[in-house]
Point group: C2
Chain length 229, copies 2
Amino acid sequence: MAPEQISPDSPADVARLVIGVLGGTGDQGRGLARRLALAGSQVIIGSRDPGRAVAAAASIGRPPQLTGAANADAARAADVVIAAMPWDGHRELLESLAGVLEGKILIDCVNPLGFDSRGAYPLEVPEGSAAQQAAAVLPGTRVVGAFHHVSAVLLLDPEVAELDLDVLVLGDDRHATDVVQALAGRIAGVRGVYAGRLRNCGQVEALTANLVSVNRRYKAHAGLRITDI
Amino acid sequence: MAPEQISPDSPADVARLVIGVLGGTGDQGRGLARRLALAGSQVIIGSRDPGRAVAAAASIGRPPQLTGAANADAARAADVVIAAMPWDGHRELLESLAGVLEGKILIDCVNPLGFDSRGAYPLEVPEGSAAQQAAAVLPGTRVVGAFHHVSAVLLLDPEVAELDLDVLVLGDDRHATDVVQALAGRIAGVRGVYAGRLRNCGQVEALTANLVSVNRRYKAHAGLRITDI
């Protein structure tokens, strides 16, 4: 199914989307893969090493709709691709997949953060944000920023049936952001909220540093909710 | 009462703090002054023009604990000073008050934003954020970032008895952030949440651009809540 044919207003359409997760063997990638698979989506975890991708999928244990493959194969088979690789390697991996990602929706959830003795802090990104870097290296791809603030611990915790947070969704392509909002809404306890254009994604990524501070101070796995909507 | 003697754990202590609001005739300043006065605090609205400050206080109509004065007089009489002037003029006004603000807590709620046909976007701030600029020009002042995301419309609306949001409080001085959290918590419906050091204030200020986008899309006055704490 080409992205052009998806209606974000049709739950059935969004449910049929195949999701690829680049760098999906990390905690964030595995966590999102797990929750989307639990919601009924077909999900392919991607990795440089296909063997590790298959092992990561098996560790979550929901075959057949959760499988593993090399990053390029996961991207090729998917309708919507989540970029969940470490920031270090973000540009390089996306550049190498530019052809495969042409025309698809790419959801960037990467947070460019540094850590020192005082905690987390945002790294300088020449393009303004990871999502804008993705858009710069993938001119033929519909880049959306989302899923920045979702705790990997909670995503992976089998005791947590429902999350309690809004996913901020950013992008310049209305259809793409609508699809991603609908996709976020398939995860139990999550609401997808449109939160601006891609040029305003830098502070959303950087805000993850503040949530790290909140988590330290309050011994929590903090999330965001937007009030009055 | 000197800030050193305030116990943030004692509601009585925080209630006795005199609050000055620099640039308090703008919507944000008047709104915060109004809510803090409604909570029982003594509040002095400051302005370049003392006559305008007095008129702004009278327009809210809660004398005697809400008054107006020249910015320097408001700062001098206050225990805690809120910087609510426009970004354009932020540095200059604070520099001119450096002596008066020595040793006090300054709460910076200024959002350096630009606006164009596509909406709001964060401005480049050489120091990283308005709050860090305040700390740079006021080395003897205990600078805290807070109240960035509070809707002036809701603050000023007499029909709105309670807000519904968390105020993110940022700073490097634990006692000062504790006091500001307690102060925020005096406003009906508001909780003060510690959200990191001053170096992580830039993205909190910039996130106001995203809330502008949310407000446009959803016809709302959006606020933030932090979940799991």
